[in-house]
Subunit: 707 residues, 2 copies
């Protein structure tokens, strides 16, 4: 009897696991060749899903890059010999130094001559197209797939933790999310594609897993495939296969001790990275996105730890601030007129963002790539960043950029468009870091003989400080402040930049930023959003009680609705109709027999109740009672009684929380010499772990009423 | 009341965890500045241990390399201007093409003129010194620190799983292991330094952790530090910090869902790698040990998957064979005269190995490095390996090498010297792989126009097949066959060779080799050694029952020794003296009250028993019973009753095994309506999971009788 899950339910791990066990036993018990081949076929289905997901995500990621580049360029002009070429493809094949005449700006194409007319027209088209892209994304999301908004990582964490939300993974959501993501990234809004790519990846895996009954009918098997797939999203977004695996491990907590799931995640994420490399959307045939120049040549010096520690502290503080701002905006949005005008909000944000960013017209990813580069006369001046005479101007502009981006990101992350928070956070941190780097360099040039710079060569014209690497440090610190990840962040950053030699300072800055951030509030942005939506999810971090025991949290036996063996059938039906709990403890006298799920009981007794006079029959929950009972008409419901874990009520709360996490429990009973004294459910534990956060459930979705 | 653990015990995770919880609460409850600073100080002690371990292991690894190189060179000659220079250091500073006259072979140094005399003398000194090194290592190990033999990884796995073996981590063992390792590696025996370096790393961490009470007095805290340290050993051995972390995760299963421990492991292993790089023992300032040349330039072709799959299958079969041979040798050694002549055995093995390997005189690591290299006329001919006319000769020699090395490795791994199995396994696999690569290349040169080679350029003088990479594939397959690791192996190999572009074929070969190997026997070499020594360790792999329930494995209540509330004190003492179980279920009538540990009970009642006439007093295990009892002289032992998990006896065995693993349990009771029906202990579960292996406990150590 397979339980029927609806969106909003929590799965029963024990039941699903034992169903899988039964299925597997059935496979093995077949005779002859079939018995030999069936397990192989079974495994090959799983590998089919895993490998195809990897390839699919790699291709999706590659096409997304191509699409974004084309849409983004479209805001400025078009290719004279083909509408579907982006500016780089349009101008490819030229000799160095040759001027590209094939790429025409809109004013050029439309034949506008006057200077004023040109710049007016260009800016108007730029802003109009930005708004149009953003608005289309919003319309798509609002109208067709509300689940396609936002990053998707909070929902994936919840789903992997046992929450049921199948419409979040539907093919429809996949399509809208992918398309909407391309549009929203191209619109220039302050958002990234990383989280949404994880979502896309899970949708692909879900879609593929529907092909096979073994995943369709089993929630834990489905989740194992999703866990493997999630890693691929990060792998493609950053070109970081190992970072993806560690992201799955640390942030999604998805491999929970099962090394075979981790191995599948590794395979998916490598295959995704390889197929992305094969598609090669940027024509560089490199996985490293933001290569740090000179990373292997230069050694970092001890005194640089001072500015870097400063950056780490700023990253922690600013990260916390960004989270708090984002929460404030989200809560305000929900409770104000904005709630009814989501598309208008997106249009407004896109217009403002485009108007402001028109001045530099650089996509976030390009900005980050430039900020990570060291200045090199041979490679040109990155938007004036390398002009040594404009130090203060550059510092001011960089600081302004980061402050503005904090505001825009806090606003954008949560609007009705697909939006990731990684890239904007990296951009904020990189701007800050570059500013600090330029300042340090300026200080060194001004006082090359100061004792603090004694490790540098005395000649200030020799390069000693590399501001590009300061940008990397800033980005690490800011990311740590916002997401509170550690090891996966470091790995992603060093795969992203190729700077293995500098992994130690990255590590230190991540650690310090996380500490500082934790001092202002313990949760990262994803955990905050989970709490705001009140998904039944348990944070993997260790819970420490303050001396409480289970007795302080449990619902005592006298407040529990219990089913007594021997209850009249009519009475049982009434209880099941009245109380919407997932299930009830089953008692015989004062003894606890087990637990029985409401759904199953209702399905079981519904046909019995329909019979005339059935209400007066007695239901027995233990076999012995029903067989010894004098009544011939007793109903034996003992097969519906499930096993339940029992503890004494004096165990420390910490242990209880731990058991819920490690064993994926849904409820736990407390007994004293076999008598029920209380019960704790997963909901109680979730409430406990989000108790310190003021806006819990601020954005809770109404439980969907499915047919 | 802290339990006193002796070597051979298993720790009580629940008790240790709650002790740590109490300590932490005590720290937080302090007032004023002390209350603020105490947790900080606490954390900084932990980081001190972690960081110092990293630095220490990095330095140890660096010095080990230097020492091995010097000792190894000493077998052939000496430096004329200083005894303590190795051949490379002795000849450094010369212009290219200049002949090094400073490094003198022994015959040269001793002034032997005749050709025959020279080669006789050289080979004699070579063999004599090899034997001397190996013998010194064996004498050191046998006489001073028997725990310093072998790889150490099985023991570390057991210790991290809760086994107590403090003498395995003593400073004395550390010293002998490090010194013995240098000697045994330099002696040219078929062994590597990877596993022993993990052991050394854990010893360093243990030594440092003794400084602080928080680790000294708490076994779980101690294990968290050890888990972090273990990663550093692999990091230093292979220059692979991420591989180290993943090794800890996959093979040692040491981070079990605790991301803070994983982060510490990451920090230790990066710091270790950085300090090794800083010491720079080889003067290359590179972490990548066996750089694969041209790895980024060439693309692999689809048809190459055929020879690679062949290699993978061979790796799996040969890996299994190596394990079985090694087990046979180990069992024979234990049960024959060799058991009493460990040093003689080492001397014999060293003499034979040296005599045979004198012909090519290449250390394993150098051999592997050469096998991984592509032939390049500019870089010289690696021992004739690149001679295109000697194809069959080379293939024959390579196959011979691998077969001989399988034999030597199976013999050596388990002798009384420190010995790792990674490097010899890599050498075997690399030889095989290179042979297959050379054959494929020969085939291509013979039939360049065959359809299978259609992806290659038609001109056979253009290189299409890179035999060096075949060696990498062979090494991966062989390693997977022997260790049965997956993800950490792939990461180690690509960090080792720098061949990120070829990670997909490495992955495939590892997977196939593991599947093939698993078909011949499910466990890797470390798990086999754990079973042979019967350490109480549970494999992290999923256990699948065949329909058994707990009832089939549990000791039924009627066969259990239980303590009844109300037992006479004298009788209790007698029970405790008679039965050497770790503890006993405590009953009141037929009701299960809990569990009580033997050690604690004995300590508690010993002073009471000493009083005259005390034997007739009654002991009560529940407070209510002792307070309502009419007897004034009743002894209240209720504080010694521990909580115990209760399940119904019909739960599937798989779930029981899972609970033991996830919750680190030591025992589990089964009740029916509060009445005890049976009990399962960790020992039962371990026996269950090693039941399929014939030589379980073949090498079991006698339980040490400590004072």
């Amino acid at each position: 009897m397979r339980p029927h899950y609806r969106d909003g339910d929590t799965i029963d791990w024990w039941h699903e696991d034992s169903a899988e066990r039964e299925r597997w036993k059935g496979l093995l018990s077949q005779h002859g060749l079939k018995g030999l081949l069936a397990p192989l076929l079974d495994a090959s289905k799983m590998w089919f899903v895993v490998v195809c997901t990897g390839i699919g995500v790699g291709i999706a990621g590659g096409w997304l890059d191509v699409l974004v580049k084309w849409l983004g360029d479209l805001r400025e002009g078009r290719c004279s010999y083909g509408f579907f070429y982006n500016s780089v493809a349009c101008c490819s094949g030229l000799d160095p130094g040759e001027v590209c005449n094939e790429w025409q700006s809109w004013s050029n194409y439309l034949g506008v001559q006057s200077m004023l007319g040109q710049s007016l027209l260009q800016s108007l088209i730029y802003i109009a197209l930005s708004v149009a892209f953003a608005a289309s994304a919003a319309v798509l999301v609002v109208t067709y797939a509300p689940f396609a908004f936002h990053t998707g990582i909070p929902e994936i964490k919840a789903i992997l933790g046992g929450y049921v939300l199948d419409s979040f993974l539907s093919p429809w959501t996949l399509l809208i999310k992918a398309l909407g993501l391309a549009l929203s990234v191209a619109s220039g809004l302050s958002l990234g594609k990383e989280g949404p790519l994880v979502h896309v990846s899970c949708c692909v895996a879900f879609l593929l897993s529907r092909l096979f009954k073994q995943f369709r009918n089993n929630e834990t098997q489905k989740r194992k495939v999703l866990a493997a797939a999630a890693a691929a999203g990060v792998s493609v977004a950053f070109g970081s296969p190992l970072g993806g695996v560690l992201f799955g491990l640390e942030e999604l907590d998805s491999f929970a001790n099962e090394s075979d799931v981790m191995w599948r995640g590794f395979v998916t994420s490598v295959i995704a990275a390889v197929s992305l490399q094969y598609i090669d959307p940027f024509g560089t045939s490199k996985l490293v996105l933001f290569q740090v120049s000179n990373s292997s040549g230069n050694r970092w010096l001890a005194f640089e730890l001072i500015p870097w520690l400063g950056l780490a502290v700023i990253g922690g503080v600013l990260g916390s601030l960004l989270i708090k701002l984002n929460v404030a905006v989200a809560v305000y949005r929900r409770n104000s007129f904005l709630n009814d005008w989501p598309i208008t909000e997106v249009v407004g944000a896109a217009a403002v963002t485009a108007a402001i960013s028109y001045l530099h017209r650089v996509q976030s990813s390009e900005l980050v790539a430039n900020l990570f580069q060291e200045c090199d006369p041979a490679r040109g001046d990155f938007h004036g960043l390398c002009n040594p005479t404009a130090m203060w101007e550059n510092v001011f502009l960089l600081l302004l950029t980061s402050v503005a981006k904090v505001g825009f990101t806090a606003w954008t992350f949560g609007m009705m468009v697909p939006a990731g928070i990684f890239l904007p956070t990296i951009a904020i941190g990189a701007s800050l870091g570059r500013a600090v780097g330029i300042l340090t360099q300026g200080l060194y040039k001004a006082y090359p003989k100061a004792w603090i710079f004694s490790a540098c060569p005395p000649d200030p014209s020799v390069r000693c400080i590399y501001p590009g690497f300061y940008a990397v440090i800033g980005a690490s610190a800011m990311l740590a402040g916002v997401t509170r990840m550690t090891i996966s962040l470091v790995v992603i950053l060093f795969e992203l930049t190729g700077a293995l030699s500098h992994v130690l300072p990255i590590m230190i800055s991540v650690m310090v930023a996380k500490w500082v951030g934790d001092a202002f509030g313990e949760d990262g942005i994803y955990a905050i959003w989970i709490a705001m939506r009140r998904y039944p999810w348990l944070a993997p971090i260790e819970y420490h009680d303050k001396g409480e025991t289970a007795a302080d949290v449990m619902t005592p036996a006298k407040s529990l609705v219990v089913l007594e063996s021997g209850v009249l059938l009519g009475e049982l039906g009434r209880i099941l109709d009245t109380w919407e709990y997932h299930g009830f403890p089953v008692m015989e006298g004062k003894k606890l027999l087990g637990y029985s799920a409401r759904d199953k009981l209702r399905t079981y007794i519904a046909p019995l109740l329909a019979e005339a006079g059935a209400s007066d029959r007695r239901c027995f929950f233990s076999e012995s009672a029903s067989s010894t009972s004098a009544e011939v008409m007793g109903v034996d419901v003992s097969p519906l009684v499930e096993d339940v874990l029992q503890l004494r009520k004096d165990v420390p709360l910490e242990l209880v929380v731990n058991m819920f996490k490690k064993l994926n429990l849904r409820h736990l009973t407390f007994t004293q010499a076999g008598e029920l004294v209380g019960m704790i459910t997963k909901t109680d534990i979730v409430a406990l772990s989000t108790a310190h956060f003021a806006h819990t459930a601020a954005l809770e979705r109404e439980k969907p009423t499915s047919p």
